[in-house]
Structures are given as C-alpha cells and as structure tokens.
Symmetry: C2
Subunit: 164 residues, 2 copies
DNA sequence: TTTCGTGCAAAGCCTTTGCATCCAT
DNA sequence: ATGGATGCAAAGGCTTTGCACGAAA
C-alpha cells in the first residue's frame, strides 16, 4: 500500500480472528490461521484468486482449498479484519481493515494502480449529509477514477517506478 | 430518483446516442432506439434485468433480446448517457448521466433505497487530493452505506412512505 | 452486395454450495 | 462420539460471445 502509517493495535490479526470466530461458535483451524497469516503478511491489495495463488505456492505443505479461502474471506470481512474496496475486473478486491487507518482510493484507469489518500473534509461532509437526511452511516466507499501522475506524463515507453 | 432538478439539455437522448453511434460507425437501429427511449422514460435506477423486463412487457411488439440490451447498455455508458452507480446484488445498477446533475448516493442496507445528494465540498476535496497526487480525475463513485431515516425509526411494521 | 446488428444458445467467470470425509473436543 | 471444517466438484447468477440469419446502405 502507500505511505499511510500503520495504527497500533492491541492484538494480532490471528487473535482478533480467533476471538471473532469464537463468538460465532467457530474455531481457528490450521487452514484459517494459515490464511490470516498470509493475508496479513503483506499490505498489498489482493483478490481471492491472488490469495489462492500465494497459498498454493507455499512449500510448507500448508495449502488451502479455494472454497476455504472464499469462506475465510467472508469471515475476515465480518470480523472487521478485511474490507472490500473495489471490483475492477469483476473480482472483489480486499485490503486490511485492521491496524490500518481509514482511507479512500484514486484508481488509475491506465495502469490499475490504487493510490490511497485521507482527507478529513470528507468525513465532515458525510456527517453533514447524513444529518440532513436522517441517515445513519455505517461505512462508505469512495473510488476516484482517472489517470495517475505516472501515466499522465509524456512517455517514451511506460515506466513503472521512475526517477532512479 | 429524488428531488434533484433536471438540467436543461440541448438534444434528446436519442439524438445524443445517434451521434455517438455514428462516431463509432454504428447505426441507431430500431432496437437501440427502443432501448434509449425506455431507459429515458423514467428517472429510476435500474439494472439490466429490470430493463429487459420492461421491454418484454411492451405490447407494441418492440421487444429486444437480452443480448442486445447488454450490448446497448455498454454503448449507452460509453456515450455518456448512462452511468453505473452501484452493484448491490451483483447486478450492475445504472442511472442517467445525461440531463441530470452529478450526485452521489446514500444506500440503505436495510431496504436498499438509494438517496441522492450533492455536496460541493466533495468536489473541492477531490480537486485538492488530485492536485496533491498529480492525478487527473475523470470520474468518481461515492457510495455511503448505512440505515435510512425510515429504517432507523422504531417500527411497528415497516412503513414505506410514511407521514400521511 | 456488403457491412453492421440481432437473437439464440452456449460459454465464461467469479463465487457459492451440496455432500462425504475429517478432525478436534 | 459429535458438531464444526475442509475439499472437491457441481451448481449459480450475471454477463459476454460465437455464429447464422436478417436488415439497412
């Protein structure tokens, strides 16, 4: 992800997941633990398929079936550990919703890059609008589409990370 | 839709659609014309399936196949006449993007109602963020999830349009 | 005639689910 | 022993596409 600062959290994702599962009469199985760890091993955005691939590449034999991954993703979302942020290619894209500050995204239509940003005035605006409509907000999703700085500039060839 | 005021437009949706199609070397066929008219006959949000149903209920024999509807929706989107606004039940939901002011939505998780709103500070914020990131915005989608006024209040039974 | 469009049915794609087997308590 | 969990394969649900026929220029 970008340069947003991680937030201090009291307990690890595994623990938080276990606590959630317990409230649902479920257990933190080996598979589910493997998945949470893999999910929180990196701050990148990912979709179900990418997660499955990452799990399949493991050499420690801790593979998990696709079904279990999908089931776990739903549980991670319900537990507040993950959040669905976009659906670029008809695939749900997830990101950490635990230990990470709330933010929104600029989405480049050319290279698909997701740029995170935070702006307080958005929340002020949302509160105002909610009040005006007697609406009780539980969440929001703001996706800003366009062209990122890199894709905007005149290109000889496309350069990914420039300025070396 | 809600109480947003329609914007004056120079040409009809049909005309605008025809113009777009011509630039693509396509024609405004009877089917496509039937679809644009049906789409712009009402300001409600709709999904592909609802549009197909509306077209199937016609008694004037002007029915259109599902494939053609899907193809036309893509063209209407490309032409700037329609915009995809949400995807509540895995169905893409569309609304008019022509002759209607730009706005965003409060989406009630209980009853599924879409409430439109406009707030200038959002655009100010977006411009600022875009500038900071060297990002060129082409569009945005803001979905605010929660509970609408109607669903919030203590209910004996659920009432749709109250206060009679 | 030639190109574009339509309709039908089949295929695609991501995701969900039925079901038999397994595992931990 | 027992209820939840996993994996596989099949089913689902929306959307897209191949293809032959039809219509307009």
């Amino acid at each position: 992800m970008s340069d947003l600062t991680a937030v201090d959290v009291a307990v690890s994702p595994e623990t938080k997941f276990r606590e959630y599962l317990m409230t649902q009469g479920m257990r933190l199985t080996t598979e589910r633990e493997t998945i949470v760890r893999e999910v929180f091993a990196s701050h990148e955005h990912f979709d179900a398929d990418q997660l499955v691939s990452r799990l399949n590449q493991r050499t420690d034999g801790k593979r998990v079936s696709r079904s279990t991954v999908y089931r776990a993703l739903a549980q991670l979302k319900d537990s507040g550990l993950l959040r669905a942020v976009a659906r670029p290619n008809d695939r749900e894209v997830y990101e950490h919703d635990y230990g990470y500050p709330q933010h929104d995204h600029l989405i480049c239509k050319e290279c698909g890059d997701l740029i995170e940003f935070v702006d307080d005035s958005l929340n002020e605006m949302l509160s105002r609008v909610a009040a005006q409509n007697g609406f009780r907000i539980s969440a929001h999703r703001l996706e800003v589409y366009g062209k990122c700085a890199n894709c905007c500039r005149p290109k000889r060839r496309q350069r990914k990370t420039d300025m070396i």
